[in-house]
């Protein structure tokens, strides 16, 4: 027998007993009354009257038994479902509204959770920290450190219980025997890596310090569970199999646990290979009881002593000013968090407002509806329902509604998250981010929490209304008088609040969209349109790098002959990737400066034709040429460099020398370069930042050859991709093309957070406006229905249709204006918030606000049209006759 059966059987038995008992009681009372001399029929009535409401006594007696609340809840749920079924239109709009709002919250929170909060599946993730290095005025950097610095920290710290490290190769070419190579993420890990993280293998073993040879290749790897599944279908015989990593044979000794995909959020490691004595990114465990602040203090001391040891007497201020930050790494390394954190916080705020808007919307609709249910409530009170029961009933209905909305919303969120993840994945290859949102207890709790809280939030007002308006004289009322002053204004202010919030959201949309447009159209100092970038990989082709100059020059000539190609070039980096400023500075003849004033320019190796292809203007002088090879060394400097060294002078013909520090660089020698031209500045995306100082060298003259070809086309560059691939393939048969991408795609991929925010706020703004429209429509339609009689009287007394529609539209305009004023205040208040989260957001002008106002006004006009029309169609005769 199930619990339900037992419950109901027991109830039935008890109720029968109680029935009998009460009948008995009344019978005796009747007898008593007859004994006192009443006639039998009167005696019975008197007995019944004295006993009171039999059904209610039974209910109250039943309530003594505690499981009654469950049964009442069940009753409320069934009744609520019936109510929802009876108003399919209302239910559909409500569920859809809630689905969109809750779906948006769930989707954004899943991303937020996955990127910002979710812990790595390792032992004691809360102890893990990483080190980030921050130069004054620069964003903090990942912190690849030299081996001796690692040793210094490992041997001299007192704050970490363990220290390990790794490096990442995001573009490792991995293949198994007899198949094509694929590009995977390889993690080179120190011997103690798996032990420090406390990981256990799925099968086989994980690598240890003993796998790391003193020099050379370890020859063993651990592969990810995913890789094992994909290539070996989880065959245990994978152990001992051989795979080729960047051409080197390695044997698989183990498979990592399924949940572990490396320490980075958004990058899934597939192969782990032990190594040592090389650059390293460190991961440490804090000693129990040591705070991050203490660790940071010690790390900075260790770092400074290491700088002193390595640069005795050297006054490199840049290295000395660098600060080490100790960051918690339990939720993965910080890079993705740094990249998306602010955008995600912003989006969380936006969807939070959207949720609030949705709640207001539902509250106002339910309120309008429950005002129409007053008589139902009065009847329920009359037959013995307590106010408490009415309130529970209303809350049950709203939670039911939000529950249904959540179910649909979770489905929407599932697809929505997919879209968001795809936008986020469209970053550049070297910083590719692939977020995997997995269902998780915390996520489910969040969603369920949101469903209940939303339901209660928007159910409170109608429930309170039911509570206040319950017993009273409602039964007698005919519905003509309308609500009290308070509730009328409460309904209106709910709508005004919706208008305000949607003004806020739409203004945000306008601001973020114009920000995105500005980013896209921002004059970066080069032209990103019509440029195709083709990267090839000669490493496995048999060509030696020093010998590439001639074939590459010939290939350039070939590519130039393709119809539709206007110019071609090769470069080591593009302005979007940035060339990185290293630890080097320039000495210019005739210019003296203190070490603190040094400029640290980026160095870019380019082929002749680069400036034409990228559309970077040469303001004076000539481009590089192939004839420079073997001649006087030449350089082209960007305007920023010229301003630094030769303010107000002509730099052409002057000489500069590169000084590499702290250690010599392979190409470093002190022969000077003659400046042959002045190039326009190239800017980073951060609008307030100064342009990059860049020094360009001729890659053929230096014989420092890179593999990134750029083609400026006169037609759609994407259409040229196939031809370019074919020409390269025909000419350099053994060199594979690894990447083909347009430059504008890369510009887009550099502003992913901005695109994400803009695309989403577009959607949320539209949703907000639609919700405000629905809210306005609901309230107007309801009030027109309530005022039918009043309108009828007015028309009977000679009001024209335009008077009537003015009445309705005036009501709408009032709410709209109030909402607009509050919305404008919200915008004003939210300005610093948005500015703190989005870099370089232009100070909010009146433009977006006005735009939002117009958009919402248009929506409001549409929303009030139908009710206004309905009001003018009221037939006075019918209106007055009814009731």
């Amino acid at each position: 027998m199930s619990l339900w059966d037992r419950l109901f059987r027991r109830r039935k038995l008890m109720m029968d007993d109680l029935d009998q008992d009460i009948r008995d009681f009344i019978e005796r009372e009747t007898q008593d009354n007859i004994g006192r001399g009443m006639p039998p029929d009167k005696a019975r009535y008197a007995a019944l009257r004295r006993f009171g409401n039999v059904a209610r006594v039974k209910e109250e007696t039943w309530e003594v038994w505690s499981f009654v609340w469950l049964e009442q809840l069940w009753q409320d749920v069934r009744y609520g479902l019936r109510q929802l079924r009876r108003n399919p239109g209302f239910t559909a709009v409500g569920v859809l509204t809630l689905a969109l709002v809750i779906g948006a919250n769930t989707a954004i929170f899943s991303l937020f959770y996955t990127v910002m909060l979710q812990k790595l599946p390792v032992a004691h993730p809360e102890q893990l920290v990483e080190f980030l290095y921050k130069d004054p005025g620069q964003p903090r950097s990942d912190g690849y450190r030299r081996w001796d610095e690692y040793e210094n920290i490992r041997d001299h710290n007192h704050v970490f219980s363990a220290l390990t490290g790794m490096t990442f190769d995001n573009l490792a070419r991995v293949r198994i025997e007899g198949s094509d190579p694929e590009t995977l993420i390889l993690e080179n890990v120190l011997g103690n890596y798996f032990e420090v993280l406390g990981l256990k293998p799925a099968i086989g073993r994980l690598t240890t310090s003993e796998d790391v040879p003193a020099s050379g290749d370890a020859g063993v790897v651990v592969v990810s569970w995913d890789y094992w599944n994909r290539w070996f279908h989880r065959d245990p015989a994978v152990l001992g199999k051989r795979i080729y990593v960047n051409g080197n044979p390695e044997s698989i000794v183990g498979v990592a646990p399924p949940a572990y995909t490396g320490p980075r959020v958004g990058n899934r490691t597939d192969v782990w290979e032990p190594y040592q004595r090389d650059a390293v990114r460190m991961l440490a465990r804090l000693e129990p009881g040591v705070t991050r602040g203490q660790a940071e203090a010690e790390m900075n001391v260790l770092y400074q002593s290491w700088v002193d040891q390595n640069n005795p007497g050297h006054k490199n201020t840049r290295l000395r000013q660098r600060k080490v930050e100790v960051e918690p790494a339990g939720a993965g390394l910080a890079r993705v968090r740094d990249l998306y954190g602010k955008s995600l916080v912003l989006l969380m705020a936006v969807v939070g407002f959207l949720l609030l808007l949705g709640c207001f919307n539902m509250a106002s609709m339910l309120l309008a509806r429950s005002a129409g249910r007053q008589r139902e409530m009065a009847v329920r009170v009359a037959v013995g329902a307590s106010r408490g029961r009415l309130v529970t009933q209303m809350l049950t209905e709203s939670v039911l509604l939000s529950g249904a909305g959540t179910l649909v919303g979770v489905m929407l969120a599932y697809f929505g998250t997919g879209v968001l993840v795809r936008i986020m994945a469209s970053t550049q290859a070297h910083q590719h981010v692939e977020i995997q949102v997995k269902p998780d207890l915390n996520l489910l709790l969040f969603t369920a929490g949101i469903a209940v809280v939303t339901g209660l939030l928007f159910g409170v007002a109608p429930a309170w209304y039911a509570f206040r308006s319950a017993p009273g004289p409602m039964m007698r009322r005919t519905g003509a008088a309308g609500d009290t002053w308070f509730w009328r204004w409460f309904g209106r202010s709910l709508v005004a609040a919706q208008v305000a919030l949607s003004i806020f959201l739409v203004t945000g949309t306008a601001v973020f969209l114009s920000h995105l447009v500005r980013m896209r159209n921002f004059d970066l100092g080069f032209r990103s349109d019509h440029v195709l970038q083709v990267t090839i990989d000669p490493s496995g082709s048999g060509y030696k790098r020093e010998q590439l100059a001639v074939p590459y020059q010939q290939l350039l000539a070939r590519l130039e002959t393709i119809p539709g190609v206007r110019s071609v070039s090769i470069s080591g980096c593009t302005p979007i990737q940035g060339c990185g400023s290293g630890a080097r500075h320039l000495i210019a003849e005739g210019h003296v400066e203190a070490p603190e004033q040094r400029q640290f320019p980026a160095i870019s190796f380019v082929s002749p034709g680069y400036f034409e292809t990228l559309g970077i203007p040469l303001m004076a002088g000539r481009d590089f040429s192939l004839r420079d090879v073997g001649q006087q060394r030449v350089a082209i400097i960007s305007a920023a460099v010229a301003r630094h060294f030769f303010p107000g002078q002509n730099p052409i013909g002057r000489h500069i020398t590169v000084v590499y520090d702290p250690e010599p660089y392979p190409f470093g020698d002190d022969r000077p370069y003659e400046i042959i031209a002045l190039a326009g500045d190239v800017k980073p995306f951060e609008l307030h930042d100064p342009p990059y100082p860049i020094v360009y060298f001729n890659m053929f003259q230096e014989n420092h050859i890179f593999d990134q070809f750029e083609l400026r086309t006169s037609t759609d560059p994407e259409a040229m991709a196939g031809t370019a691939r074919r020409v390269i393939g025909d000419f350099l048969k053994t060199v594979p093309v690894t990447r083909v991408k347009t430059l504008s795609e890369q510009v887009d991929s550099d502003i992913v957070p901005e695109r994400l925010v803009a695309a989403l706020s577009e959607f949320f703004g539209a949703l907000g406006a639609a919700l405000a429209g629905i809210g306005l429509y609901g309230l107007l339609a309801y009030s027109v229905a309530r005022r039918t009689k009043e309108i009828g009287v007015r028309m009977a007394l000679g009001a024209t249709t335009s008077d009537i529609s003015r009445l309705v539209l005036g009501d709408a305009a009032g709410m709209l204006c109030a909402g607009f004023v509050v919305g404008a205040c919200l915008v004003f208040w939210g300005r610093p918030l948005a500015a703190s989260l989005v870099l370089d957001l232009k100070p909010v002008s009146a433009g977006p606000l006005a735009l939002a106002g117009i958009a919402i006004a248009a929506v409001a006009l549409v929303a009030s049209y139908v009710p206004a029309r309905r009001a003018t169609r009221v037939d006075p005769m019918v209106a007055l006759r009814c009731e």
Partner: protein, 120 residues
């Protein structure tokens, strides 16, 4: 029932009905009607049992295990439910009675201080 009559009768204090039921059942098992009548009779009709609250109170006592219920035959040979005090209920009655004594005494001291002052 006239208005005057109603004024003379006093509604029961919250919670005292339980005590009165227990006390009534100390005399022996009784059915619902008899309990109500006994209370009214023994208080010279001053205390009015609101019949609607009798059954919830009885069930509250059953649930706490202070009284039990059994089928029986009434004096005029009809089947009826008889409520009976349990051992636990008897103990509870002692506790409640002494509590009530304290409460009533305290209230009396506050309401009739003159009498107290008059004492030496």
């Amino acid at each position: 029932m006239s208005t005057k009559e109603q004024q003379e009768r006093t509604e029961l204090l919250q919670g005292t009905l339980d005590l009165l039921i227990l006390r009534t059942l100390l005399l022996g098992p009784a059915h619902g009607h008899a309990i109500a009548k006994t209370i009214e009779f023994r208080s010279d009709d001053v205390l009015q049992v609101e019949q609607g609250s009798l059954y919830p109170a009885l069930h509250r006592l059953i649930k706490r295990g202070w009284i039990s219920v059994q089928e029986g035959t009434s004096e005029n040979n009809r089947r009826a439910k008889f409520y009976r005090l349990t051992a636990q209920g008897r103990r509870q009655l002692d506790i409640e009675t002494s509590k009530w004594g304290k409460l009533a005494g305290a209230i009396a001291r506050i309401l009739m201080p003159a009498e107290q002052e008059g004492k030496p």
